[in-house]
């Protein structure tokens, strides 16, 4: 097959795919010239104005430090970021540098879409938290340089707990089960949960699975492992809560968006939070003193919550590798780690940098940081979620038992893993 033919045909075909699904490629032309470095960034800082101001400052600071380079930070929404990146990478376009999470790396690395950043973090390597760096590592190479760290801990509405006569926020499975009938009598649900196909299981079912002592993949990574007694225990816990009215019925189709969903509307007493700015927004909505950030939820076997570093990766087809590496080096310097953490309410991925955090909730997040788990890296991690979610919905609606649902998901999941190259 002639290479020229390949070059001409494939972009056309990808164009069709994009048109057919209306998914669209974001950001227009992201190709970089020889001195241009393009970055795809997301609203890591919740306040849009503050986010724009922060990245404007980064552009100016970087260009002042590297007068030969022209930095363009393009802002994209969080929604469909994998899809947009896949479209861009697949058509040989996309940014030079992009923000990546640990669960995105294996799939893009396996498909040859990203390249290692080891050279860019050579000097700072020993300063990173080992767990943060490990989460970004694949086959011994680092594919994204951590610039911040998140913790997904619990968030409670004190007003609703008080209304139900609950003095201590329920922090264990047993406490949750005990609180559910009291909260129901008070007219609210207990736990905000999203079983939507578009919601990440890292923020919903997987923490329950880990708390029960279960795993998503087996040691070899060639088989799923969630259809286990621990998995069934986790799903049964969730189904019981749903049947008891402790999880809002809208959970089947709703995403966990604070502002629009049950937690924000004070229809449920407990949910999850990623950053102090989440908690600050909750307090603003519910009234002073009504938002409580709790510890990582404790299951029958483990106290664990999701938390991950956010890092900068490099497009395998970048035309400006040197510029991309210089930007990553710049962003991992202590000054930028500190400013990023301060602006976004994040934790430092470096042990030698402390982020000054004026949030009244900082202490609680810091405590939960010790229990964070960045998920199980696997090239098919994201795809597997698309197969598990409908089965969780089937269990919640009573169409299948937790055992049947997990078995069905495992069968589809194992087929998917068998198809992986």
């Amino acid at each position: 097959m002639k290479t020229g033919f390949k070059r001409a045909t494939v972009p056309l075909a990808l164009l069709t795919l994009t048109a057919l699904t209306a998914a669209g490629c974001a950001g227009g032309d992201s190709g970089s010239g020889s001195n241009k470095v393009t970055v795809w960034m997301y609203p890591v800082i919740m306040d849009p104005k503050a986010n724009a101001a922060y990245w404007d400052g980064i552009e100016k600071g970087f260009e002042a430090a590297h007068k030969d380079l022209d930095l363009a930070v393009e802002q994209l929404p969080w929604e469909n970021r994998d899809q947009k990146l896949a479209t861009a990478f697949g058509s040989g376009k996309g940014p030079d540098v992009v923000l990546l999470g640990p669960d995105q790396i294996p799939q893009f690395q396996a498909n040859g879409a990203v390249q290692p950043v080891d050279r860019a973090i050579e000097k700072a390597r020993s300063a990173f938290r080992p767990a943060a760096l490990e989460a970004m590592t694949q086959d011994g190479k680092v594919y994204a340089a951590p610039i911040y760290h998140t913790v997904t801990s619990t968030l409670y509405n004190k007003k609703l707990l008080d209304k139900a006569g609950i003095k201590e926020p329920p922090a264990t499975w047993d406490a949750l089960k005990a609180a559910a009938p009291k909260l129901k009598r008070a007219g609210v649900a207990t736990l905000d949960y999203s079983a939507s196909n578009e919601a990440s299981l890292n923020m919903s079912f997987y923490p329950l699975l880990w708390q029960a002592g279960g795993k998503v993949f087996d040691e070899s990574g060639k088989k799923t492992a969630f259809s286990s007694p621990e998995g069934v225990e986790a799903l049964t816990f969730l189904v019981d809560l749903y049947k008891a009215g402790a999880v809002p019925r809208s959970a089947l189709t709703n995403a966990n968006l604070f502002t629009d969903q049950a937690l924000g509307k004070e229809q449920v007493a407990m949910g999850y939070t990623n950053t102090p700015s989440d908690a600050a927004l909750a307090e603003k909505t519910w009234g002073k003193g009504n938002a409580i950030v709790g510890p990582a939820l404790t299951g029958p076997r483990k106290q664990v919550c999701f938390g991950m570093p956010g890092g900068l990766g490099i497009n395998a087809r970048t035309k400006n590798l040197t510029g991309a590496e210089k930007f990553i080096t710049y962003m991992t310097e202590p000054a930028q780690i500190r400013s990023m953490g301060t602006a976004g309410g994040f934790f430092s991925p470096r042990t030698d940098v402390t982020v000054p955090n004026g949030s009244p909730f900082a202490k609680e997040y810091e405590a939960a940081l010790a229990h964070t788990f960045p998920g199980e890296p696997h090239p098919a991690a994201r795809q597997l979620m698309a197969l598990i979610t409908p089965e969780i919905q089937a269990a919640l609606t009573g169409k299948k038992s937790p055992e049947q649902a997990l078995e069905a998901a495992a069968k589809e999941g194992d087929d998917l893993l068998a198809r992986q190259r």
Binding site: M1, K6, T9, V10, P11, L12, A13, L14, L15, T16, L17, A19, L20, T21, A22, A23, N80, D82, Q83, A86, T87, F89, G90, G92, Q107, F108, N111, G112, A113, A195, S196, N197, E198, A199, P248, R249, S250, L252, T253, A255, A262, K265, Q267, A316, R317, R382, Q383, A386, T389, P390, Q393, A394, L396, T397, K399, L416, R421
Partner: protein, 331 residues
Amino acid sequence: MSKLEPRETSPDDALPTAPPAAAPAEGAARAVAAAAAAGRRPAPARRREALVGLAFVAPMLALFLVFRFGPTLGAAFLSLTDYRLSGEWDFIGAANYTRLLNDDLFWESLGVTAVYTALYVPMTVLLALGTAALLYRTLWLRGFFRGLFFLPYVTSIVLAAVIWKWIYEVEDGLLNSTLGALGLGEIDFLGNESLVLPSIAAASAWKGFGYSMLILLAGLQSIPREVTEAATIDGASAWQRFRWVTLPLLRPVLFFVLVIEAIQAFQVFDAMYVMTAGGPVRASYSLVYFLYDSGFKFFDFGYASAVGLVLFLVVLVFSLIQRRLIGREED
């Protein structure tokens, strides 16, 4: 031409001075004369005329070839490969199609799409026909109402879907609040596997009926008043006039609308993506959703292209049916 058949449209018909009865014959005579005149033109003049015509069509033709025809061919080719995210690919023949035929999820999504189409098309066409008939009889503020009914069509589908999602919400949605106020129980419109498709179809019908309404209104306005007046004089009731006079004359337009809406329905994605994300338990997981997941979640571009080609064939079949039916009507 029978009186019950739609009138041939020609620019002459619109002339206010032409006597109604003589107009069609006159128009036809002029057309024949024009054709004869054209036939007498010398060949270079005809060629020049054709070239001028082609020059006018060329920009649109170029756009069509680049953005429609080319990508379709590209997708057809891609469906025969295992194109990967890295840009590498191998030719795998019909393997994607074989896999598709054995994929339960493909059949499930095709079934969902067919059921959705069966719900959406009648809802939309009936709504469009009803409002078109009302507008046809409305003389006061007709333009205002026409604009009002057309408004949802020009609204963003995402915005419309978000609003309808709020309306359908179990906990405090508009519909359930109303049902609650009436002392009726809550209905989980989007969380119930049996109700989710009718609910999405109703929301989409609200969003989409405006376009068909305009076409049907134009169709109604093209029916000569003397035909319905004759039926009235013969003692036909309003329903009889509609059933036996208006509806048969409207048939070509109605067929067009039916086919356009069916094609639209087969490509449903946005509403399902926003309102239910394909759930619950894939009860609203359409063929285009399956295509989207295959390409952009599973990065299986070749397979997704095969799904796209199947969808293209389905739409093509509908278009051919439309052509055939309308062609037969015109004959």
